[in-house]
């Protein structure tokens, strides 16, 4: 892995950090992120930008190989050729437990179908559903 602080010209230094580990530390040409107001891409020379992330998929290229990482929401800081993602949890595609994610989606869907939007538990299940979908999308591509 390239050192994130010394990304070559025309590249972005990408770090994906969770409270319990560093998930990625690499140099990429572009990264797409699930921003709270919609997905967006960052390339070298992107303006300084801070946004919160919703649960979703982070995609980037590592040495020509497409990579996907599921994040459960977080915050991203884009400045001076660096992209730092701070996520509560982050899992590269190969680490996603697909069966578990599918079960989580099913249980969240059945819970939500029994609730109304105004229910106090709605937001919690909706967030669970979003995280499950993010994981499934990451694993299945």
């Amino acid at each position: 892995m390239a050192n994130a602080d010394e990304a070559p010209e025309g590249a972005l230094a990408l770090s994906v950090i969770t409270p319990v580990r560093r998930v990625a530390e690499t140099s990429v040409s572009m990264v797409t992120l699930p921003g709270v107001d919609g997905d967006f891409g960052a390339m070298p020379g992107h303006m300084a930008f801070i946004t919160t992330l919703r649960p979703g998929v982070v995609t980037y290229d590592e040495g020509g190989m497409p990579r996907r990482v599921a994040v459960s929401g977080g915050i991203v800081d884009v400045t001076g050729g660096k992209v730092v993602i701070l996520a509560r949890t982050a899992e590269p595609a190969q680490e996603v437990d697909l069966d578990r994610a599918r079960r989580a989606r099913e249980s969240a869907e059945s819970q939500l179908s029994a609730l109304t939007y105004a229910d106090e538990h709605w937001a919690r299940w909706e967030a669970k559903l979003a995280r499950a979908i993010a994981r499934i999308t990451t694993a299945e591509g």
Binding site: V20, R22, V36, F49, I50, T52, I75, L86
Partner: protein
């Protein structure tokens, strides 16, 4: 030394040996757990540091009082979050941190102090005293993790925002190394962040950031995540301290047991020797008497 029968000494040696086996096993278990806890302390750092950096960056661009968790009020009510252990046999770990909390409470006489207690030991001590306990987290050692930190953060935030607490402290054993754990009282809320003076613009050397959805929303997210990361840090440092303290204590206990076994063995051999000598004397005097 009172003369003890051979049987008694033997029994005693066996019992000390059993104890030694237990302390030795506990020491090994603690060493393994300590290694994991130390790793958790290390790996939590990059996230917490970056969060702090973002927090400072955004707070410097914001007016004072830009977020309710940054609000400084006159201190009348204090919430202390105490991190103790569920179990004993770990040297001064529990007593040290309980003493630090008790001192903090004493120093704030005249103010309303309440407690959130993590761990059974702290709860055992304070539930018999007058400082009210608002919540306890018992039997937590298997759930040391981010979810627990979020739970604690939720309670602290609730109290602070309801103005039931003007300051929130984290009182925990900071892990310096295996033998040294330092009792620490760290202010958690209000979040200590540099803020821009009322009339100044943002410092000119700062990068001009775009925020989505807004600076306020980003700040809110960052502040809340920062608070959780601070609590998580206290949790993992306290866990590392506990394992370190237990390892040290159990190492000392194992050594003491070894010394005790040695001195008991010596006593046993002496007693055995004395018994033999006594028997010999009896035989000899018996023979003398017959001859005489």
């Amino acid at each position: 030394m009172a003369a003890r029968s051979l049987k008694d000494i033997k029994r005693r040696i066996r019992s000390v040996k059993n104890t030694q086996q237990i302390t030795k096993a506990m020491k090994l278990v603690s060493a393994a757990k300590l290694r994991r806890a130390q790793e958790a302390v290390e790996t939590s750092r990059p996230y917490a540091e970056k969060m702090r950096e973002l927090l400072e960056g955004i707070a410097m661009r914001s007016p004072p009082g830009c977020h309710p968790l940054l609000a400084r009020r006159e201190v009348k009510k204090i919430l202390v979050i105490l991190f103790s252990g569920d179990k004993g046999l770990c040297g001064p770990f529990n007593s040290q941190i309980i003493r630090a909390a008790a001192q903090l409470i004493r120093r704030n006489q005249g103010r309303e102090v309440s407690l959130l207690v993590v761990g059974k030991r702290g709860n055992d001590f304070f539930r018999k005293r007058e400082t009210p306990i608002l919540g306890v987290f018992l039997d937590y050692s298997k759930r040391v993790g981010y979810t627990l930190a979020e739970e604690i953060a939720g309670k602290a935030r609730e109290r602070f925002l309801a103005e039931e607490a003007d300051v929130v402290y984290l009182v925990y054993n900071r892990f310096k190394n295996v033998v040294v754990q330092e009792a620490t009282a760290l202010p958690l809320l209000p979040v200590d962040a540099p803020s821009r003076e009322e009339d100044e613009g943002p410092p000119p050397d700062l990068v001009d950031y775009e925020y989505e959805p807004s600076m306020e929303a980003a700040l809110d997210d960052i502040v809340n995540r920062y608070v959780v990361s601070q609590i998580y840090r206290a949790l993992v440092e306290s866990a590392a301290s506990e394992h370190g303290a237990r390892m040290t204590a159990m190492d000392a206990a194992t050594k003491n047991a070894k010394e005790m076994i040695e001195s008991l063995t010596l006593e046993y051999n002496r007693a055995r020797q004395a018994a033999i000598t006594k028997e010999l004397i009896e035989v000899v005097t018996g023979a003398d008497a017959l001859e005489g």
